[in-house]
Amino acid sequence: MNKPGMISKTGDSITITWAALEESKTNGEEVLSYKIGW
């Protein structure tokens, strides 16, 4: 996936956004969820 973007941040939270994975990059299988790490 592409790098996520930041929408807003506070002292104790960050709101991120991302572009959906293109169908050509899913090997024909539907995306079920996303895993976000920090």
């Binding site: 790098k3 996520p4 929408i7 939270s13 960050i14 539907e30």
Partner: protein
């Protein structure tokens, strides 16, 4: 690390972080085949927020209630909420507008609080407060500080009476007596 199981989502709030810290955020997609490679890292620093308000005090001043708390640096606004009878929180305009940021307090009538919160007589007035600076809002203060309560209304009085009916009833006026209520 969390899983965002709504695959239609494209937005996520990462919460419970520490102020003024750097975080590296990355994302991967999951399908029936497994996990994709993680994205490049997004570097983000959280902001510096106000601290939890201290010394929150509610006191009675005649027919009014005074709410005061300790000032903090760089505050641009304070938010004061009152707990209603149904436990929901409500804002009262007298404690929202034109607060002195350097010496924060607000004063409003006991009656106004009763009207806005629907609390019964002698119920404790519960408030919570938080400050905001140009970056973010701080945490809410502890609740239930101070001991101000909703004032009790006077009970129903006995009927007025005459001590000397003949003397107190005149052609164009009357004089009445009543039994004084205690504690008024």
């Amino acid at each position: 690390m969390v899983s965002c199981t709504d695959y239609y989502a494209s937005l996520y709030d990462i919460t419970g972080l520490n102020a003024q810290k750097f975080y590296n955020v990355k994302i991967a997609a999951v399908n029936s085949c497994g996990l994709s490679e993680y994205s490049p890292i997004l570097e983000v620093a959280t902001t510096n927020c106000p601290i939890k308000p201290q010394d929150v005090l509610t006191t009675i001043d005649g027919a009014d209630v005074v709410i005061s708390w300790a000032a903090q640096a760089n505050i641009v606004s304070w938010e004061v909420l009152f707990q209603g009878k149904n436990k929901s929180w409500t804002r009262i305009s007298e404690c929202s507008d034109s607060l002195d940021l350097a010496d924060p307090s607000c004063k409003l009538s006991n009656t106004k609080i009763q009207e806005e919160t629907n609390l019964d007589a002698q119920e404790l007035i519960i408030v919570k407060i938080r400050g905001s600076n140009s970056s973010c809002s701080g945490p809410w203060s502890d609740v239930n500080t101070g001991d101000a309560k909703i004032a009790s209304c006077p009970e129903k009085m006995a009927a007025p009476f005459f001590d000397d009916k003949e003397a107190q009833i005149r052609k164009d006026s009357i004089t009445i007596n009543w039994t004084k209520l205690t504690g008024v």
